[in-house]
Each structure stands twice: as structure tokens, then as C-alpha cells.
């Protein structure tokens, strides 16, 4: 029930198939699927974002080709209004349910314990995200309050982690984790909007934080 071919596939797919060379034959027997099909199969068993390079190795295809196939698949799922969605998050690709389906999916997946973050935690997280690696005292300086407890909470939640220590002071420096990126659906920290967008003009130029006298 598995070796259907693309002749009857709708137009969208033809584009993709044209780019796929069916000649590659790894060591294994039986008719092999095309790269797109194989890619979908592998994505189905993935349980964390997988980098294009890894997928390329598994498929024995050039990374760029795999990258293109992934982007095409993602676009195809959108067009066809599928219930799943292929996304590039935290440096890799992974299948997600579509946002509009949440009401249905949530009857199956219960993660109600995923407690919301407090305002204090969100603000602290924002400072860490934009100023990493950053010490607690520097965060405290920016927020104008002691942040020790909040930082500990964020570490426990896996959203930030100790990344380094400051040379002179020995202070622990914090940065965001890949779990943070996943939770926000971001590919990389660089994808965050520039902070200067949120600062009035004369201050926009200076993205470095104003000296914090704590």
C-alpha cells in the first residue's frame, strides 16, 4: 500500500518532483521513495527540531536541496490547508499542529501545567534575551529590582541557563536556551525584533544598555 507514484499527484507536487532526481540508490533493496517522501517519513519520527544537515545525511542529498524540499513541503502544507505545519524552529525542522486546530488538539494533549509566566519573569526573560550573556546584577540594574528569585525560576523552567562567568567578578552570566526558542517558535535569538524598534529615536542608536548603577 505504499509505492504509489506521482503521476496522479496534483500540480503543486510536480514542481517538487521535477527537482528530485530519482536515480540515487542507497545500499538497500526494494523500490526507494523519492527524497520528498523519505523526508516526510523521517520528519514523522523526529521528536525535536532536526537540522537540515542531519536530514541531508540521512537522505544522502546535498543540504541545499534538502533545505529547498523542506521549504516546499512547508508551503505545500499551508496551501493544502493541512492540519499540520512544518516549521523551522530553534535551528531545525519539526512538525507541529496548526494553530487553528488547537481547540481539538487540546482535548488530546493535556499540558495545562504549563504555567504562565509572571510579568516579572517575562521582563527578566526579555532582558536576558537581548543582553545575553548577562549577570543577575546587570538585569537587576535594568529592571530596578532584585531579580535573584525570578532568575532562579527561569532557570528551573529551562528558559535560561548559566552560560559563562564574568572574568573579573566571577559573576554567573545567563543566556536563553533552545527550549526558550522552541517555546516562542523562534529559529534563533537573532530573529527577535531589534530593541531599537522599542526605543524613541535619540536612544535608538544606542542599543547598549544605559549604565546601570547597581
Amino acid at each position: 500500500m505504499s509505492d504509489e507514484h506521482d503521476d496522479e499527484a496534483p500540480d503543486v507536487l510536480d514542481v517538487i518532483h521535477d527537482t528530485v532526481d530519482a536515480g540515487h540508490e542507497p545500499e538497500l533493496s526494494g523500490p526507494l521513495p523519492d527524497a520528498r517522501t523519505a523526508l516526510e517519513a523521517v520528519l514523522l519520527v523526529v521528536d525535536e527540531p532536526v537540522a537540515e544537515v542531519v536530514l541531508a545525511q540521512v537522505l544522502e542529498r546535498p543540504t541545499e536541496e534538502v533545505g529547498r524540499l523542506l521549504a516546499e513541503l512547508a508551503a505545500e502544507y499551508d496551501e493544502q490547508g493541512r492540519g499540520f505545519d512544518l516549521r523551522h524552529v530553534s535551528g531545525g525542522w519539526r512538525l507541529y499542529t496548526r494553530e487553528s486546530c488547537a481547540p481539538y488538539v487540546e482535548r488530546f494533549v493535556r499540558d495545562g501545567q504549563q504555567a504562565r509566566l509572571t510579568q516579572a519573569a517575562l521582563e527578566t526573560l526579555a532582558v536576558v534575551a537581548y543582553r545575553q550573556p548577562v549577570s543577575r546584577s546587570r538585569i537587576g540594574g535594568i529592571r530596578g529590582v532584585n531579580v535573584d528569585a525570578v532568575v532562579r525560576t527561569l532557570v528551573t523552567r529551562g528558559l535560561i541557563t548559566e552560560v559563562d562567568t564574568e572574568r573579573e567578578s566571577g559573576a554567573i552570566l545567563y543566556g536563553t536556551t533552545s527550549y526558550f526558542l522552541e517555546r516562542l517558535g523562534l529559529d534563533a535569538v537573532d530573529d527577535l525584533p531589534p530593541l531599537s524598534d522599542y526605543l524613541p529615536d535619540p536612544y535608538a542608536l544606542d542599543d547598549e544598555d544605559v549604565s546601570t548603577s547597581t
Binding site: 516579572a120 529592571r143 516562542l184 517558535g185
Partner: protein
Amino acid sequence: MTDGADTAAEVTTSGFHVHLDVFEGPFDLLLSLIAKRQLDVTLVALAQVTDEFIAHIRMGEGEWDLDQATGFLVVAATLLDLKVARLLPAVEEDDEDLALLEARDLLFARLLQYRAFKQIAGLFAAGFARERRRHPRAVPLEPAFATLLPEVLLGVGPIEFAALAARALAPRPTPIVAVDHLHAPKVSVREQAVVLATRLRDLGAATFRGLTTDAGATIVVVARFLALLELYREGAVAFEQMTPLGELHVRWVGNPDADAELQRWAHETGEHDEYDASAQEPEQT
């Protein structure tokens, strides 16, 4: 979900100051006061809310811990300075004025910076909420493939595993203001001298680097360095360093006087077991 802000909020809502909103620090309060008056965030606005800011601090008095209060007071002081300066007749610009202007600009800049992060925080909240509605596929492997999974590598033995469990099971600390950083552990130079003497006696010679790999904190490294100087003075060790800032070699020469002195130190610091001539490797891992 437990952090300073929440605790504060609970205290106030359940306590006497029901009417008092809780603000996460002075900037939070300033922004909310400015917003309440429907002002833009400007220097003028800052001046206009000074009184309210001070009043708010008064209300909070007696409920704040020192840490909390300091932040508010620093800002209040700057605001008051500015207010006083405006009330007094303008005189020649002098250094003090400049300092005041600087303080004002700094306060203003910090406020704007804080506002930017607050807006980002809102962005994050929206992002998290949106992402919560998407669920990644996280399904165990089909039975057909599960058997192909490489053998699990635990990477730890029973002992490490137990330690890991102890850590995972230890009650998570209740959020309190940490003061650990104020109390660096006390390290005794003599204690370290005893540790080093025991080790050098066994090894004959070692490098300073080797003698401090297990030191952990910088303070211990410093203590061991001072300890070596003491041992040197007692004539128990000799140094050798080929190049300036190069590797420092320490050699155990030992002498009866030094031994007597070390005995005394060891008893003093309660480390005599380790110092005992027959003692094996110190269990300082």
C-alpha cells in the same frame, strides 16, 4: 511561577494595603503613573509625577525589604533633586547642575530602556500564548523502529545517578533574597597549607597548577598560594620557575622545624588526620 513579584502581590492584597497596587520596581511605578495621567514618557512627565511617586513610596514604607526599597529610593532622590532645582531661582550653570542634568538624563534613559523591555515582555507573552496553541509531534517511535534505537547511554554510574536524583528531588528553594554572594566561604590559609603539605609529601614535587586544579573557588587558589609562601618561609618547600609567569614548580624539601609547625597547624585546624605522616591521599577530590 513563584517569584518576588507574586509574593509581594499576595502579601499586599491579603494584608492591610489592599488599595496599593504592587509595582515591580521604581520604573514600573513611574511608567504606570505616567500612563495614568495619559502622558507620553518625557522629562516633563517625569517631573509631573514626582509627588505621586514619593507619596507611593510613603505608602509602601514598612512593607518593603531593603532591596526593594533601595531601588525606589534612588529614583525618588533623583526626582526630588530635580524638583528642588526647578523651584530654586536659576543661577549660573555649575558642576552641580551638570551632575543633576546627567542624573536626570540617566534616569530618563533608564526609564525608556525599561519601557522597551516591558514591551518586549508583552511580545513574549503573546508569543508564548500563540505557541501554546501549537503542538509539536512528540510521539514515541513505531514499534518497528523502536528496537533499532541505539542502546541507551546513561553516561553515569549508580553513585552519580543517586547524586542526580538527590538534586532532582531536593525541594526547590523558596524564593528568598539570596545573600550568598555577600558571604564567600571562609578559607583558612593554614588549613590549605596542611592540605598541600600532605600532598607534596606524597608527590615530592608538583606544579602550582596541579596543586590547585581541585581548588574550585578562586579564593581557595589564593589561599593555597599564600599557604605555599608560608611553607616556603618555614623551609618546607622550594620553588622553581623557568620563565616569568611560567609554570611554577613546587618541591617538597621538608625539615623538622617545618614539620613541627605543620603539626601545630593541623591540630589547630582539626585536620591532623590528614596531616598524619602515615596519611594517604587526602580525600579532597
